[in-house]
Point group: C2
Protein backbone atom coordinates (compact mmCIF):
# COMPACT_ATOMS: atom_id res chain seq x y z
CA UNK A 1 0.00 0.00 0.00
CA UNK A 2 1.33 3.38 -0.95
CA UNK A 3 0.92 6.50 1.13
CA UNK A 4 -0.79 8.45 -1.61
CA UNK A 5 -3.39 5.78 -2.31
CA UNK A 6 -4.30 5.61 1.33
CA UNK A 7 -4.58 9.39 1.49
CA UNK A 8 -6.92 9.44 -1.47
CA UNK A 9 -9.09 6.69 -0.04
CA UNK A 10 -9.35 8.52 3.27
CA UNK A 11 -9.83 11.95 1.79
CA UNK A 12 -6.86 13.46 3.61
CA UNK A 13 -3.45 14.69 2.48
CA UNK A 14 -0.49 12.31 2.15
CA UNK A 15 1.21 14.30 4.90
CA UNK A 16 -1.43 13.19 7.37
CA UNK A 17 -1.07 9.59 6.28
CA UNK A 18 2.65 9.62 7.00
CA UNK A 19 1.93 10.48 10.60
CA UNK A 20 -0.75 7.80 10.93
CA UNK A 21 1.51 5.14 9.47
CA UNK A 22 4.26 6.00 11.87
CA UNK A 23 1.77 5.65 14.68
CA UNK A 24 0.40 2.35 13.46
CA UNK A 25 3.94 1.13 12.99
CA UNK A 26 4.74 1.94 16.61
CA UNK A 27 1.64 0.01 17.64
CA UNK A 28 2.79 -2.96 15.59
CA UNK A 29 -0.16 -2.96 13.21
CA UNK A 30 1.78 -2.21 10.01
CA UNK A 31 5.24 -2.75 8.67
CA UNK A 32 6.38 0.57 7.34
CA UNK A 33 9.60 1.95 5.91
CA UNK A 34 9.90 5.58 4.95
CA UNK A 35 9.31 6.05 1.24
CA UNK A 36 8.76 2.32 1.06
CA UNK A 37 5.03 1.87 1.52
CA UNK A 38 3.21 -0.02 4.23
CA UNK A 39 1.91 -3.53 4.76
CA UNK A 40 -0.31 -4.90 7.48
CA UNK A 41 1.30 -7.13 10.08
CA UNK A 42 -0.52 -10.22 11.31
CA UNK A 43 -1.91 -8.15 14.20
CA UNK A 44 -2.93 -5.42 11.81
CA UNK A 45 -4.61 -7.93 9.54
CA UNK A 46 -6.63 -9.23 12.46
CA UNK A 47 -7.68 -5.76 13.56
CA UNK A 48 -8.62 -4.84 10.01
CA UNK A 49 -10.72 -7.94 9.54
CA UNK A 50 -12.54 -7.07 12.73
CA UNK A 51 -13.53 -3.74 11.24
CA UNK A 52 -14.47 -5.39 7.95
CA UNK A 53 -16.69 -7.78 9.84
CA UNK A 54 -18.50 -4.95 11.61
CA UNK A 55 -18.95 -3.13 8.35
CA UNK A 56 -20.39 -6.05 6.46
CA UNK A 57 -22.64 -7.26 9.26
CA UNK A 58 -24.03 -3.74 9.47
CA UNK A 59 -24.62 -3.59 5.73
CA UNK A 60 -26.59 -6.83 5.93
CA UNK A 61 -28.60 -5.48 8.80
CA UNK A 62 -29.35 -2.24 6.99
CA UNK A 63 -30.64 -4.02 3.90
CA UNK A 64 -32.32 -7.05 5.42
CA UNK A 65 -33.89 -5.56 8.53
CA UNK A 66 -34.16 -1.83 7.92
CA UNK A 67 -34.90 -2.14 4.20
CA UNK A 68 -32.29 0.28 2.93
CA UNK A 69 -31.18 -0.08 -0.68
CA UNK A 70 -27.84 -1.79 -1.27
CA UNK A 71 -26.49 1.37 -2.88
CA UNK A 72 -26.79 3.36 0.37
CA UNK A 73 -25.56 0.95 2.97
CA UNK A 74 -21.82 1.22 2.42
CA UNK A 75 -21.84 4.89 3.39
CA UNK A 76 -24.25 4.37 6.28
CA UNK A 77 -22.32 1.43 7.70
CA UNK A 78 -19.16 3.49 7.43
CA UNK A 79 -20.62 6.15 9.73
CA UNK A 80 -21.89 3.64 12.24
CA UNK A 81 -19.16 1.05 12.39
CA UNK A 82 -16.74 2.75 14.73
CA UNK A 83 -19.20 3.67 17.48
CA UNK A 84 -21.04 0.37 17.86
CA UNK A 85 -20.09 -1.69 20.89
CA UNK A 86 -18.79 -5.12 19.96
CA UNK A 87 -21.60 -6.90 21.82
CA UNK A 88 -24.14 -5.09 19.68
CA UNK A 89 -22.43 -6.18 16.49
CA UNK A 90 -22.41 -9.73 17.82
CA UNK A 91 -26.11 -9.55 18.67
CA UNK A 92 -26.97 -8.22 15.22
CA UNK A 93 -24.94 -10.99 13.63
CA UNK A 94 -26.86 -13.60 15.63
CA UNK A 95 -30.17 -11.94 14.80
CA UNK A 96 -29.33 -12.24 11.12
CA UNK A 97 -28.36 -15.89 11.49
CA UNK A 98 -24.62 -15.42 10.89
CA UNK A 99 -24.82 -14.32 7.29
CA UNK A 100 -21.97 -15.43 5.03
CA UNK A 101 -21.74 -12.29 2.91
CA UNK A 102 -22.62 -8.60 2.83
CA UNK A 103 -25.31 -7.42 0.39
CA UNK A 104 -22.67 -6.88 -2.29
CA UNK A 105 -21.50 -10.46 -1.95
CA UNK A 106 -18.26 -9.95 -0.03
CA UNK A 107 -17.61 -12.61 2.59
CA UNK A 108 -17.99 -11.66 6.25
CA UNK A 109 -14.95 -12.61 8.37
CA UNK A 110 -15.71 -14.59 11.50
CA UNK A 111 -14.71 -13.37 14.95
CA UNK A 112 -11.32 -15.09 14.70
CA UNK A 113 -10.50 -13.31 11.48
CA UNK A 114 -11.02 -16.22 9.11
CA UNK A 115 -12.53 -15.15 5.84
CA UNK A 116 -13.59 -17.02 2.70
CA UNK A 117 -11.61 -16.44 -0.47
CA UNK A 118 -13.05 -14.01 -3.01
CA UNK A 119 -13.18 -14.75 -6.71
CA UNK A 120 -10.54 -13.08 -8.85
CA UNK A 121 -12.43 -13.38 -12.09
CA UNK A 122 -14.50 -10.43 -13.30
CA UNK A 123 -16.92 -10.13 -16.20
CA UNK A 124 -14.09 -8.37 -18.01
CA UNK A 125 -12.13 -11.64 -17.87
CA UNK A 126 -14.78 -13.70 -19.65
CA UNK A 127 -14.85 -14.63 -23.31
CA UNK A 128 -17.82 -14.73 -25.67
CA UNK A 129 -20.00 -17.71 -24.94
CA UNK A 130 -18.82 -18.12 -21.34
CA UNK A 131 -21.39 -18.76 -18.67
CA UNK A 132 -20.83 -17.54 -15.12
CA UNK A 133 -22.46 -16.71 -11.83
CA UNK A 134 -22.27 -13.26 -10.23
CA UNK A 135 -20.51 -13.44 -6.87
CA UNK A 136 -19.77 -9.92 -5.74
CA UNK A 137 -19.79 -6.32 -6.91
CA UNK A 138 -17.81 -3.23 -5.97
CA UNK A 139 -19.85 -1.18 -3.52
CA UNK A 140 -18.27 2.26 -3.83
CA UNK A 141 -20.47 3.95 -6.41
CA UNK A 142 -24.17 4.18 -5.54
CA UNK A 143 -25.12 5.02 -9.13
CA UNK A 144 -23.35 1.92 -10.42
CA UNK A 145 -25.08 -0.24 -7.82
CA UNK A 146 -28.45 1.16 -8.80
CA UNK A 147 -27.73 0.33 -12.41
CA UNK A 148 -26.51 -3.17 -11.68
CA UNK A 149 -29.58 -3.96 -9.66
CA UNK A 150 -31.90 -2.77 -12.42
CA UNK A 151 -30.12 -5.05 -14.87
CA UNK A 152 -30.24 -8.03 -12.54
CA UNK A 153 -26.47 -8.12 -12.04
CA UNK A 154 -26.67 -9.08 -8.38
CA UNK A 155 -24.92 -11.86 -6.47
CA UNK A 156 -26.35 -15.21 -7.47
CA UNK A 157 -27.46 -14.13 -10.93
CA UNK A 158 -26.49 -16.41 -13.80
CA UNK A 159 -25.28 -14.86 -17.03
CA UNK A 160 -23.86 -15.67 -20.45
CA UNK A 161 -21.48 -13.48 -22.42
CA UNK A 162 -22.97 -12.94 -25.86
CA UNK A 163 -20.37 -10.57 -27.30
CA UNK A 164 -16.94 -9.19 -26.58
CA UNK A 165 -15.88 -6.23 -28.67
CA UNK A 166 -12.20 -6.83 -29.51
CA UNK A 167 -11.50 -3.12 -30.12
CA UNK A 168 -12.77 -1.35 -27.01
CA UNK A 169 -13.44 -4.27 -24.72
CA UNK A 170 -17.18 -3.71 -24.42
CA UNK A 171 -18.95 -6.83 -23.18
CA UNK A 172 -22.59 -7.77 -23.70
CA UNK A 173 -24.00 -10.12 -21.10
CA UNK A 174 -27.37 -11.84 -21.02
CA UNK A 175 -28.64 -12.25 -17.51
CA UNK A 176 -31.07 -15.09 -16.95
CA UNK A 177 -34.51 -13.56 -16.33
CA UNK A 178 -33.25 -10.02 -16.89
CA UNK A 179 -32.26 -9.42 -20.51
CA UNK A 180 -29.03 -8.24 -22.11
CA UNK A 181 -26.77 -5.42 -20.97
CA UNK A 182 -23.68 -3.86 -22.54
CA UNK A 183 -20.84 -2.98 -20.18
CA UNK A 184 -17.70 -0.89 -20.69
CA UNK A 185 -14.49 -2.55 -19.45
CA UNK A 186 -14.36 -0.39 -16.31
CA UNK A 187 -17.86 -1.46 -15.39
CA UNK A 188 -17.25 -5.08 -16.30
CA UNK A 189 -14.35 -5.10 -13.87
CA UNK A 190 -16.64 -4.13 -10.98
CA UNK A 191 -18.52 -7.44 -11.11
CA UNK A 192 -16.75 -10.56 -9.89
CA UNK A 193 -17.98 -13.94 -11.03
CA UNK A 194 -17.22 -17.60 -10.81
CA UNK A 195 -17.47 -20.11 -13.65
CA UNK A 196 -19.51 -22.60 -11.66
CA UNK A 197 -23.14 -22.11 -12.50
CA UNK A 198 -24.17 -24.24 -9.59
CA UNK A 199 -27.64 -24.29 -8.06
Amino acid sequence: MRTGDIAQRLGVTPASVSGMLKHLSREGLVNYREYGGALLTADGERAALGVVRRHRVLERFLTDVLQFGWEQVDALAHQMEHALPEVVVDAIERLLGDPATCPHGHPIPDKEGRVAAEPRLTIGGLAAGDRACVREVDEFDPALLDFLQQRGLVPGAVLRVSQVNPIDGTVVVEVVDAGATALAPATAKAVRVSREVAE
Copy 2:
Protein backbone atom coordinates in the same frame (compact mmCIF):
# COMPACT_ATOMS: atom_id res chain seq x y z
CA MET B 1 -28.18 23.69 35.74
CA ARG B 2 -24.95 24.32 37.53
CA THR B 3 -21.54 23.90 36.00
CA GLY B 4 -20.33 21.42 38.60
CA ASP B 5 -23.35 19.13 38.23
CA ILE B 6 -22.90 19.00 34.48
CA ALA B 7 -19.22 18.22 34.93
CA GLN B 8 -20.00 15.36 37.26
CA ARG B 9 -22.61 13.93 34.93
CA LEU B 10 -20.21 14.09 32.02
CA GLY B 11 -17.20 12.82 33.93
CA VAL B 12 -15.04 15.84 33.07
CA THR B 13 -13.72 18.75 35.13
CA PRO B 14 -15.81 21.88 35.72
CA ALA B 15 -13.17 23.83 33.82
CA SER B 16 -14.01 21.91 30.67
CA VAL B 17 -17.70 22.54 31.16
CA SER B 18 -17.17 26.30 31.33
CA GLY B 19 -15.67 26.20 27.86
CA MET B 20 -18.48 24.06 26.48
CA LEU B 21 -21.14 26.33 27.90
CA LYS B 22 -19.56 29.37 26.36
CA HIS B 23 -19.55 27.54 23.06
CA LEU B 24 -23.16 26.46 23.34
CA SER B 25 -24.11 29.96 24.37
CA ARG B 26 -22.49 31.37 21.23
CA GLU B 27 -24.46 28.84 19.20
CA GLY B 28 -27.66 29.94 20.89
CA LEU B 29 -28.43 26.60 22.51
CA VAL B 30 -28.18 27.71 26.14
CA ASN B 31 -28.64 30.89 28.11
CA TYR B 32 -25.58 31.25 30.24
CA ARG B 33 -24.21 33.89 32.57
CA GLU B 34 -20.82 33.50 34.17
CA TYR B 35 -21.13 32.12 37.67
CA GLY B 36 -24.86 32.07 37.09
CA GLY B 37 -25.58 28.59 35.78
CA ALA B 38 -27.06 27.65 32.40
CA LEU B 39 -30.49 26.97 30.98
CA LEU B 40 -31.50 25.56 27.61
CA THR B 41 -32.99 27.94 25.08
CA ALA B 42 -35.92 26.86 22.91
CA ASP B 43 -33.43 25.82 20.22
CA GLY B 44 -31.36 23.95 22.77
CA GLU B 45 -34.44 22.21 24.10
CA ARG B 46 -35.28 21.02 20.60
CA ALA B 47 -31.77 19.75 19.96
CA ALA B 48 -31.70 18.00 23.31
CA LEU B 49 -35.03 16.29 22.69
CA GLY B 50 -33.64 15.06 19.39
CA VAL B 51 -30.83 13.34 21.24
CA VAL B 52 -33.23 11.98 23.84
CA ARG B 53 -35.34 10.54 21.07
CA ARG B 54 -32.35 8.75 19.53
CA HIS B 55 -31.35 7.41 22.89
CA ARG B 56 -34.74 6.02 23.81
CA VAL B 57 -35.48 4.57 20.40
CA LEU B 58 -32.14 2.79 20.57
CA GLU B 59 -32.88 1.45 24.04
CA ARG B 60 -36.16 0.00 22.77
CA PHE B 61 -34.37 -1.56 19.85
CA LEU B 62 -31.69 -3.08 22.04
CA THR B 63 -34.23 -4.71 24.35
CA ASP B 64 -36.98 -5.63 21.91
CA VAL B 65 -34.98 -6.72 18.89
CA LEU B 66 -31.51 -7.61 20.17
CA GLN B 67 -32.72 -9.04 23.48
CA PHE B 68 -30.42 -7.08 25.76
CA GLY B 69 -31.49 -6.68 29.38
CA TRP B 70 -32.97 -3.31 30.34
CA GLU B 71 -30.14 -2.76 32.81
CA GLN B 72 -27.51 -2.66 30.04
CA VAL B 73 -29.17 -0.62 27.35
CA ASP B 74 -28.70 2.87 28.78
CA ALA B 75 -24.93 2.55 28.58
CA LEU B 76 -24.99 0.86 25.17
CA ALA B 77 -27.36 3.42 23.68
CA HIS B 78 -25.15 6.15 25.04
CA GLN B 79 -22.20 4.84 23.07
CA MET B 80 -24.17 4.44 19.88
CA GLU B 81 -26.42 7.47 19.82
CA HIS B 82 -24.04 10.06 18.46
CA ALA B 83 -22.75 8.09 15.50
CA LEU B 84 -26.02 6.82 14.06
CA PRO B 85 -27.25 8.63 10.96
CA GLU B 86 -30.67 10.16 11.46
CA VAL B 87 -32.22 8.05 8.69
CA VAL B 88 -31.17 4.91 10.53
CA VAL B 89 -32.80 6.07 13.76
CA ASP B 90 -35.95 6.83 11.77
CA ALA B 91 -35.91 3.40 10.19
CA ILE B 92 -35.46 1.69 13.54
CA GLU B 93 -38.33 3.72 14.95
CA ARG B 94 -40.58 2.60 12.10
CA LEU B 95 -39.45 -1.00 12.48
CA LEU B 96 -40.48 -0.89 16.11
CA GLY B 97 -43.86 0.61 15.26
CA ASP B 98 -43.20 4.06 16.75
CA PRO B 99 -42.96 2.99 20.38
CA ALA B 100 -44.29 5.46 22.95
CA THR B 101 -41.69 4.84 25.64
CA CYS B 102 -38.20 3.50 26.28
CA PRO B 103 -37.85 0.22 28.21
CA HIS B 104 -37.68 2.17 31.47
CA GLY B 105 -40.99 3.85 30.71
CA HIS B 106 -39.77 7.32 29.71
CA PRO B 107 -41.72 8.83 26.83
CA ILE B 108 -40.02 9.07 23.44
CA PRO B 109 -40.19 12.57 21.91
CA ASP B 110 -41.48 12.75 18.36
CA LYS B 111 -39.45 14.24 15.54
CA GLU B 112 -40.89 17.71 16.20
CA GLY B 113 -39.78 17.64 19.81
CA ARG B 114 -43.16 17.04 21.39
CA VAL B 115 -43.00 14.76 24.38
CA ALA B 116 -45.60 13.38 26.76
CA ALA B 117 -45.58 14.56 30.36
CA GLU B 118 -43.88 12.33 32.92
CA PRO B 119 -45.45 11.56 36.28
CA ARG B 120 -44.06 13.46 39.25
CA LEU B 121 -45.24 11.01 41.85
CA THR B 122 -42.84 8.35 43.12
CA ILE B 123 -43.41 5.39 45.37
CA GLY B 124 -41.86 7.54 48.09
CA GLY B 125 -44.82 9.91 47.75
CA LEU B 126 -47.45 7.25 48.43
CA ALA B 127 -49.17 6.55 51.75
CA ALA B 128 -50.06 3.21 53.31
CA GLY B 129 -53.00 1.65 51.55
CA ASP B 130 -52.47 3.58 48.29
CA ARG B 131 -52.72 1.72 45.04
CA ALA B 132 -50.71 2.80 42.01
CA CYS B 133 -49.32 1.77 38.66
CA VAL B 134 -45.59 1.82 37.87
CA ARG B 135 -44.89 4.22 35.01
CA GLU B 136 -41.14 4.71 34.81
CA VAL B 137 -37.92 3.96 36.65
CA ASP B 138 -34.52 5.66 36.79
CA GLU B 139 -32.18 3.91 34.40
CA PHE B 140 -28.77 4.91 35.73
CA ASP B 141 -27.89 2.04 38.04
CA PRO B 142 -27.81 -1.42 36.43
CA ALA B 143 -27.86 -3.18 39.81
CA LEU B 144 -31.00 -1.31 40.80
CA LEU B 145 -32.68 -2.16 37.53
CA ASP B 146 -31.83 -5.82 37.97
CA PHE B 147 -33.36 -5.75 41.43
CA LEU B 148 -36.51 -3.94 40.32
CA GLN B 149 -37.10 -6.41 37.54
CA GLN B 150 -36.75 -9.37 39.88
CA ARG B 151 -39.35 -7.84 42.17
CA GLY B 152 -41.74 -7.10 39.33
CA LEU B 153 -41.38 -3.33 39.67
CA VAL B 154 -41.51 -2.64 35.95
CA PRO B 155 -43.64 -0.18 33.96
CA GLY B 156 -47.24 -1.34 33.93
CA ALA B 157 -47.04 -3.26 37.21
CA VAL B 158 -49.82 -2.58 39.69
CA LEU B 159 -48.92 -2.26 43.37
CA ARG B 160 -50.35 -1.47 46.78
CA VAL B 161 -48.44 0.16 49.62
CA SER B 162 -48.83 -2.04 52.68
CA GLN B 163 -46.60 -0.14 55.13
CA VAL B 164 -44.81 3.15 55.47
CA ASN B 165 -42.29 3.33 58.32
CA PRO B 166 -42.75 6.81 59.84
CA ILE B 167 -39.22 6.90 61.29
CA ASP B 168 -36.93 6.05 58.39
CA GLY B 169 -39.32 6.26 55.47
CA THR B 170 -39.03 2.61 54.44
CA VAL B 171 -41.93 1.56 52.24
CA VAL B 172 -43.29 -1.93 51.74
CA VAL B 173 -45.12 -2.47 48.45
CA GLU B 174 -47.05 -5.50 47.31
CA VAL B 175 -46.79 -5.98 43.58
CA VAL B 176 -49.64 -7.84 41.92
CA ASP B 177 -48.32 -11.27 40.87
CA ALA B 178 -44.90 -10.63 42.41
CA GLY B 179 -45.03 -10.48 46.19
CA ALA B 180 -43.96 -7.82 48.67
CA THR B 181 -40.76 -5.77 48.66
CA ALA B 182 -39.33 -3.28 51.16
CA LEU B 183 -37.70 -0.18 49.74
CA ALA B 184 -35.52 2.49 51.34
CA PRO B 185 -36.57 6.06 50.54
CA ALA B 186 -33.76 6.54 48.02
CA THR B 187 -34.90 3.46 46.13
CA ALA B 188 -38.56 4.36 46.42
CA LYS B 189 -37.80 7.69 44.75
CA ALA B 190 -36.41 5.90 41.67
CA VAL B 191 -39.81 4.51 40.71
CA ARG B 192 -42.42 6.89 39.33
CA VAL B 193 -46.06 5.91 39.48
CA SER B 194 -49.50 7.19 38.70
CA ARG B 195 -52.57 6.69 40.84
CA GLU B 196 -54.73 5.44 38.00
CA VAL B 197 -54.76 1.69 38.03
CA ALA B 198 -56.27 1.62 34.58
CA GLU B 199 -56.20 -1.27 32.11
